[in-house]
Amino acid sequence: MAFRSGITKILSLRCAAHHVQVRRALTTQTKMVEEMKPGKTHFGFQEIEEEEKTKKVHEVFETVAEKYDLMNDVMSMGIHRVWKDIFMQRLAPTPETKLLDMAGGTGDITFRYIKYLQNLPASQGARSSVTVCDINQAMLDVGKQRALKLGFTPELCGVDISWVCGDAEKLNLPDDSFDAYTIAFGIRNCTHIEKVLEEAYRVLTPGGRFLCLEFSQLPNSTLQWVYDQYSFQVIPVLGQLFVGQWKPYQYLVESIRQFPNQEKFKSMIEDAGFRQVTFENLTFGTCAIHSGFKL
């Protein structure tokens, strides 16, 4: 019954979706942040007040928190797991690493980090830690429950986990206190990307590594076209079917288009003071891993 009501909703919403699609086809290039008026920012393709964005993003994740992991699997056909695995392999954590997992609410990166450390040959005395930080308590709650279910308690897994609710732009954490800073599919939702990067630079210790996994743009226009079709025609539909929500998933695909491309984001990371900044494309550029060091 719920399925059928979902279908009817989709049918009624098709007009709106079509409208978005047409606009998309005409503007193949992403609008850049520079075009914004002062005090304004993007929320998907909408232009809104800066203060509003935090609130709106908050709402989006509040509504999707419980089904977040399910939807990740559905939308990416499970590939997001591979991306996150590759991401953790690039970080290659070592014993006694202090990780800050920013925007890591449901713990996907944190659990991979713990598993990676568990697979290393045992080392004596070196204890690693991870701080999961997210702006949204609802997401953190999901993560905490999953950690309990998977048996990742500090006593059992040998890694200290702490859950902190905080804003990536104004971290309530001391300077030079982490060895690694990861942010997977989170930086896109922040209002001021430069501020997030500056904060990351501040909390990292010299030699520390910044690693970011984020949706990016495909350098090949044919594939980008295919990807656009999938994003705008299929993903909101899936959202409606599985979660009963259309809007958050429309926001999701729109925000991906607004995010700077690989090269632009790389120079933003360099501007924040990071050195040896490199990036690696995953699945033709659907995602990119950006890496930088505070040296």
Binding site: D179, A180, G207, R209, Q276
Partner: protein, 283 residues
């Protein structure tokens, strides 16, 4: 524009439809490989352009700063090689010893390969420094400064000595596809340095034959050295000496006309065959 046209246009634009699922972007111009390039330039005494803009100077400074940090970590990492091998583990121990968190090993995406590469470059530099102090000999037509080359090869081989147990692994790492180019570059810069400092100023085809021949001798000697347990590596030294003698015979043969060269060519071939079969009883 109709939908169909859009598709056709994007198909035209996007020729590279098939790409790797996960590809490593080569957007790191200041990577570790540039190091050997710079060294080669320095040694060849290329004229340095005098007008450098302030921006590129700034960039050079940045690159140098990063290189210094990397070399510092690699240098410390070498101390851990006898214990944990040419591995990421050594790199993170090295980073820790240099005062950085262990995670800084991510600076070296090739892991052990980068460590081996650094070691090769460092040894080559040391060898050049030493060779500069050795007495120079005039290279006459059709003679080979065999003593000089033998000394150079032996000096270079003995630098491996502290890491001899782990060196087979290092040689294996060097043959991995992503390390091959670095490995060849260091090998060629090594033989080029040896040839240059032994007095080779040839500009003809000999330039190539000498370097390729020397590279072959060096690599063969390296393999021999791994299993050599004689005191002071005496067996390796005589191995190198006889390989150089072979090379001399071949070069002499190439310089002569075919008929007159026949006996010497035959002798060389015969000696080589005996060496291969292991029935050379001269030594």
């Amino acid at each position: 524009m109709s939908r169909l046209q859009t598709i056709i246009r994007s198909l035209k634009n996007g020729r590279r439809i098939i790409g790797p699922i996960a590809s490593i972007s080569v957007n790191n111009p200041h990577g570790i490989r540039s190091y050997s390039q710079m060294e080669v330039q320095k040694d060849a005494k290329l004229p340095v352009p005098l007008t450098i803009s302030t921006q590129s100077e700034h960039e050079n400074e940045d690159t140098k700063y990063e290189e210094n940090i990397k070399n510092n970590i690699l240098n410390h990492a070498l101390d851990f090689v006898p214990k944990s091998g040419w591995s990421v583990e050594s790199l993170s121990s090295g980073a820790k010893a240099a005062g950085y968190p262990t995670i800084t090993h991510g600076l070296f995406p090739n892991g052990g390969g980068d460590l081996v590469h650094y070691f090769n470059i460092k040894c080559n530099e040391q060898l050049v420094e030493q060779m500069k102090t050795w007495p120079k000999m005039e290279l006459k037509e059709s003679t080979v400064p065999s003593q000089f080359i033998e000394n150079a090869i032996m000096t270079r081989l003995l630098m491996i000595d502290p890491y001899k147990i782990t060196w087979p692994k290092a040689m294996a790492i060097q043959t991995m596809p992503n390390n091959v180019s670095n490995c060849l570059a260091t090998l060629l810069s090594l033989v080029d340095d040896i040839c240059y400092h032994s007095g080779d100023r040839s500009v003809d085809f000999n330039w190539y034959t000498r370097r390729v021949g020397l590279a072959g001798i060096y690599k063969a000697a390296e393999l021999f050295y791994l299993t050599d347990s004689t005191p002071n590596s005496g067996a390796t030294r005589s191995f190198v000496a006889s390989r150089i003698r072979d090379a001399q015979l071949i070069q002499a043969a190439l310089n002569l006309n075919p008929v007159a060269a026949a006996p010497q060519t035959l002798t060389a071939a015969f000696t080589t065959a005996k060496n291969i079969l292991g029935i050379n009883t001269l030594k």
